[in-house]
């Protein structure tokens, strides 16, 4: 192991994943919207005047008349899949960290951070861990810190009953989605995205799990021979 990797293991408490300063930083991201399935939303990712990422466009919740689509009006940006040698997918290992940091300046709308992990079976390919962040809309930058313990599991846009913590060791892509069912323009300026290790944050997973389904009563007080129902 190289000396700098060992130092990284020993001392690293934070890491900047993306720092948007030029066109080459934007090339690592993909932008999508419901236009791909017949919608009317538009989304763009450009470089702002301050040399930061500028995610902007227009959301339109009008449902395309194809008889299949029931909801519309989203725009998303997602990091490109990292590749290793021989075109293999490479994952980000964020296990040493427990907080996701963002420095953004928004328009007051509510956005969603999505983490897409590597999955082996096809039933898990649509799994996304999501959490929301709310922008203030003012001229001041926001420093947003989202613990990884707060992310919840969704699949194909539906929150799952069986929840679990995000698998931080195999993150394929990180994305930002806007789908707040509002018609109109949106603007989100992003300075950087990073991760931090906060030793005082001990929470592993924020959501309790409850047994689902009917429970058969094991112990009843009814005697074997009961005259109650005679």
């Amino acid at each position: 192991m190289k000396r700098d990797d060992l130092e990284q293991l020993m001392f690293e408490d934070s890491r900047i994943l993306w720092k948007f300063r030029g066109p080459e930083d934007l090339d690592q991201w993909l932008v999508t919207s419901d236009k791909e399935m017949g919608g009317k939303s538009e989304a763009y990712l450009t470089l702002s005047e301050n040399n930061t990422a500028f995610f902007h466009g227009v959301t339109n919740i009008e449902v395309p008349k194809d008889g299949v689509t029931r909801y519309s009006g989203y725009a998303a940006m997602r990091s490109k899949q990292r590749k290793a040698a021989f075109n293999r997918r490479s994952q980000m290992d964020l296990t040493p960290f427990n907080i996701l940091n963002l420095r953004v300046r928004g328009d007051g709308r509510s956005y969603m951070i999505t983490l897409a992990p590597e999955s082996y079976f096809s039933s898990q390919w649509d799994d996304l861990w999501c959490y929301f962040f709310f922008t203030r809309g003012g001229p001041h930058w926001q420093d947003i810190q989202i613990p990884f313990s707060k992310f919840f599991l969704t699949s194909k846009g539906r929150v799952q009953d069986a929840q679990s913590a995000v698998p931080k060791d195999r993150i394929n892509t990180i994305g930002i989605t806007l789908g707040d069912k509002i018609n109109g323009p949106f603007e989100l300026e992003i300075d950087f995205m990073g991760v931090t290790m906060d030793l005082t944050h001990k929470e592993e997973f924020a959501y309790e799990q409850y047994y689902q389904g009917p429970r058969r009563k094991r112990f009843t007080k009814k005697p074997l021979l009961s005259t109650k129902d005679w």
């Binding site: 293991l9 296990t95 069986a162």
Partner: protein
């Protein structure tokens, strides 16, 4: 899962070992293997998270494939040689198939790739059971199959496992993957010991289990899945961190810890039987794996990161302190045991 049903699975896993140990017919041995596997599957997916379910399905597929190969080997043997006792399977294709199926079940090189992925997806406790108890049925079948004809193949696979387990763990920072590669390396030593003598293999296995359990349990208590987190545990729970550090030194086979004792016995027996090549290969593998054992111990016991001075110590250490102290002493007993048990082997 209901807590009332887990004793049933535990009973089934224990019964599988009894069935294998008391059977000579290969069908009942296969039955015992499958009983143990199927009883263990629900325990893997205890917490129902997507990662654990994925690991469980991977484990099931591999074990089912191995079981199919085992059954096919038994059918080939019975149809060609008209014998059914497992210890009578010597020197033909059916025996080779059965041996390869057991190698696949154990996770020995070259069928070791599933071990890392499965253990990485599991929690520490089911992973611990997978890497310790679930080896017992396979090893019990393997010692019945060892003969002059296939001993060399097993020694080669054992040496390769020891080397590959060391090589694979070099670049790992995930603790569970590291423990999986460590287990592959130790399995190489274990199989080499089984080839030389059943008693030696049993001794090494018991030592490995005794060494592994505290490491797994305290990594579970510390909730550390990455090397970086191990570094931070020295301040939050220093006794647990020390146990993990000492445990890894013991797994590395360094004297005076108990892990050295097992390796020393295997090497002695290999050299007494003039299997110098195997001994050299095992030692080289141990040296390679020593790197990551030392790295973990160094991170556990030696260094402090810049952020750690601010973190307060955990206060619930009353019972744990004495328990952990006992486990550290257990590791140091390796030196005392050298004289005693080595004389028994003579």
């Amino acid at each position: 899962m209901s807590p009332y049903i887990s004793p049933l699975f535990g009973l089934a896993m224990g019964s599988s070992v009894l069935l294998i140990s008391s059977s000579t017919h290969w069908v009942f041995v296969w039955l015992g293997l499958e009983l143990g596997t199927l009883a263990f599957i629900p325990m893997l997916a205890w917490w129902h998270s997507s990662l654990e379910v994925e690991a469980t399905v991977k484990y099931f597929i591999i074990q089912a494939m191995a079981a199919a190969v085992f059954f096919f080997g038994g059918l080939v043997m019975t149809s060609t040689e008209y014998i059914s006792g497992l210890s009578q399977f010597v020197g033909n294709f059916g025996e080779v198939l059965i041996m390869f199926s057991i190698i696949m079940k154990l996770g020995l090189v070259p069928f070791h790739y599933w071990v890392v992925d499965v253990v990485q997806g599991l929690n520490y406790l089911p992973g611990m059971v997978l890497l310790t108890w679930q080896k017992v049925p396979g090893l019990m079948v393997l010692v019945q199959l060892v003969s002059m004809q296939n001993g060399l193949i097993l020694l080669i696979f054992g040496a390769l496992s020891a080397f590959w387990g060391g090589l694979g763990g070099l670049g790992q920072t995930q603790m569970r993957k590291l423990l999986a590669f460590s287990s592959i390396a130790h399995l190489g030593w274990l199989v080499s010991g089984c080839v030389v003598g059943t008693m030696l293999g049993s001794m090494y296995f018991i030592l490995y289990v005794v060494l592994s359990i505290p490491v797994f349990v305290f990594l579970y208590i510390l909730n550390n899945t990455h090397l970086n987190q191990v570094r931070a545990s020295l301040v939050s729970n220093p006794v647990a961190a020390m146990v993990v550090g000492v445990g890894f030194l013991s797994l590395a086979g360094l004297p005076p810890f108990m892990g050295f004792f097992g390796k020393w016995l295997v090497l002695t027996w290999l050299l007494n039987n003039f299997l110098v090549g195997g001994a050299v290969a095992l030692v080289v593998g141990a040296l390679v794996s020593l790197f990551y054992y030392l790295r973990v111990s160094y991170m556990c016991m030696v260094i402090l990161g810049p952020q750690q001075i601010m973190v307060s110590l955990s206060w619930r250490k009353g019972f744990m302190g004495s328990l952990l102290g006992g486990l550290v002493v257990l590791n140091l007993l390796g030196l005392l045991l050298v004289g005693g048990i080595s004389s028994l082997s003579k």
